[in-house]
């Protein structure tokens, strides 16, 4: 629908779930390949990785919910594979629970300040 779509400049929306302490490293590495912006949030992850058992007085809470960080990055089709690869390499500790990278197609992007659209908006 958006102008980006009509312009035919493809973009991807990349969602990566990583271990929290890897965030700084990932950010630096992405900066190095020219990613200027991203949006980060704290999430809880549920997967194969087992969480710590927590005990409060008598009661044990063994939760599989573990703190993770979610990174969202809009990138042009050209840059996207490199972004995925960089995250995968930097965020990996080769231990279970390192997380996932999901890639979705992005129909359009707009910079609020200027109203620019397409990949110049990123």
């Amino acid at each position: 629908m958006g102008p980006a779509g009509t312009q035919g400049i493809g973009m991807k929306f990349i969602i990566a779930i990583i271990k929290p302490f890897k965030l700084d490293e990932v950010r630096e590495a992405l900066g190095a390949i020219g990613i200027a912006g991203m949006t980060v949030s704290e999430v809880k992850g549920f997967g194969r990785q087992k969480g710590q058992t927590e005990i409060y007085r008598g009661a044990e809470y063994s939760t599989n919910m573990l703190p993770k960080v979610k990174i969202e990055i809009a990138a042009s089709d050209d840059l996207a594979p490199q972004v995925v690869e960089t995250i995968q390499q930097v965020a990996s500790t080769e231990a279970i629970g390192d997380g996932k990278i999901f890639v979705l197609d992005l129909a359009s992007a707009t910079r609020i300040r200027t109203g620019e659209t397409g990949d110049t908006a990123l």
Partner: protein, 475 residues
């Protein structure tokens, strides 16, 4: 707040010598003008500070200790309940509580007065800046208002202890009403039974002018029966009658802020010195005994709970340590002015495993939903402490022994440990029965008339919003 205490030669000497030249000069049944000369400003200062400390135990300490352990959505409800109970209890106390607890009852001859006091001081009638209250030493007095205040802080915290047992699932105003009734029908009578007596300069001429359990010879220095067993059993009854929380046993309910719980526990410890050492009513050597016992029993109990957790779960938790500390404080309360530091440590070491058993195993087995372990910590710890008091008070174990106030001036008596323990057990049973049955009746009445339980939807949403229309945090 205790009976027949042996002040020890030195401590007794202290208070006597500070006000009078020698025991020979002691005045029997001094009149009010004489009493005015028997007040020491050091005692007054100490007792006022102690009162401040006990208020701090309720707000903010107990409120935070409890509040940190509930879920975010119920935080304010706990803070509000504790805060408002303190307010209401203070008003009830000056209204009729002090009179019912600390005046001689009608019918002295038939003995009914031993269960509840009279109404002569309702609305503090007759209490002025120039009336005095007795201490545990002959010819040592406090301004009566000081005693009214100190005891008021006890009447404020005891009902507040109860709410932990059914936290996260009770309606506010009906709970407040319950507390007014409970104070009147349960707390004041028990306080009268355990702590009321005519005082050391007067008892000898009116030997029956004392509460039922005091007269029986039960020891409770700072409130093992009156405060902890009393509140603990009321809590258990309440949590059974109100029922389990929605989602109990299915949903995880981890404490929302262990930091608040730690602040609360630390301030409870800090304030408890007013509670226990203040209960000596004077600032002397025995006060220091009660103080150090309170300190080391707590330390021992915190350590001991951590060791139990280490051996049971492989990790000592902070919640465990502070729970142990509170258990230690509860246990030492009735014994604080009687024990020695070493027997206090022993009590601390023992009480934690005992409470741990109740809090983890027994509670899980019996499946009652005592949200914040009021029964497991206060009632069990209180029972242990009350009975152990009979042991540790023994001079043979370094204890302070007991004092005979039926002679003038008061003097030391032989210590009969088995007899004393039996008196302690009886006092525990009387408290459990009076408070257990009384609380059940009152919960029943209030529930029938106003309903104690919020709707399931209100409970799910959290009491903060549904009962108070606010939210604890808006970060």
């Amino acid at each position: 707040m205790f009976r027949k205490i042996l002040c020890g030669a030195g401590a007794l000497g202290t208070s006597l010598f500070a006000t009078a030249a020698a025991a020979a000069d002691l005045v029997k049944a001094p009149d009010i003008a004489a009493q005015a000369t028997m007040v020491n400003k050091g005692d007054t200062a100490w007792m006022l500070v102690s009162s401040v400390l006990v208020l701090m135990m309720s707000v903010p300490a107990l409120a935070l200790f409890y509040g940190g352990l509930v879920r975010t959505k119920n935080m304010l409800s706990v803070l509000m309940q504790v805060f408002m109970i303190v307010c209401i209890a203070a008003l009830v106390w000056v209204g009729w509580g002090y009179s019912l607890a600390f005046t001689s009852g009608a019918g002295l001859e038939v003995g009914g007065h031993q269960f509840i006091g009279g109404i002569s001081k309702m609305w503090l009638k007759g209490v002025t800046a120039g009336t005095y209250a007795a201490t545990f030493s002959n010819n040592v007095y406090l301004p009566e208002f000081v005693f009214v205040i100190f005891q008021m802080t006890f009447a404020c915290i005891t009902p507040a202890l109860i709410v932990g047992a059914f936290a996260e699932r009770v309606k506010f105003w009906p709970l407040m009403l319950f507390m007014v009734l409970w104070l009147t029908a349960v707390y004041f009578p028990i306080a009268h039974m355990v702590w009321y007596w005519a005082g050391p300069d007067f008892l000898v001429d009116a030997p029956k002018d004392a509460g039922y359990l005091w007269d029986m010879g039960a020891l409770d220095f700072a409130g093992g029966t009156v405060v902890h067993i009393n509140a603990g059993i009321a809590g258990l009854v309440g949590c059974l009658m109100i029922g389990k929380r929605v989602g109990f046993g299915k949903e995880a309910t981890p404490p929302h802020s262990m930091v608040m719980t730690m602040i609360g526990a630390a301030l409870l410890w800090v304030g408890w010195f007013g509670f226990n050492a203040g209960s000596n009513l004077e600032a002397n050597g025995v006060t220091a005994v009660a103080f150090i016992n309170t300190f080391v029993a707590t330390a021992a109990a915190a350590l001991s709970w951590s060791l139990v957790e280490q051996s049971h779960h492989g990790k000592p938790s902070m919640l465990g340590a502070v729970t142990g500390a509170v258990a230690g404080l509860v246990a030492i309360t009735p014994a604080s002015g009687f024990a020695s530091p070493m027997t206090s440590i022993a009590m601390g070491l023992i009480v934690s495993p005992l409470c741990y058993l109740f809090v983890s195993t027994v509670k899980n087995k019996l499946k009652y939903d005592d949200t914040l372990d009021v029964f497991g910590v206060h009632c069990i710890g209180g029972i242990f402490g009350a009975i152990a008091t009979g042991v540790v008070a023994a001079p043979a174990l370094g204890g302070q022994g007991i004092f005979d106030y039926y002679v003038f001036p008061a003097g030391v008596v032989e210590y009969d440990m088995a007899g004393q323990v039996w008196k302690q057990v009886k006092a525990v049973l009387v408290t459990l029965l009076w408070s257990g049955i009384g609380s059940a009746i009152l919960f029943y009445i209030v529930d029938k008339i106003f309903g104690l339980r919020p709707t399931e939807e209100a409970e799910r949403e959290g009491l903060d919003l549904s009962e108070h229309g606010e939210r604890a945090y808006n970060y």
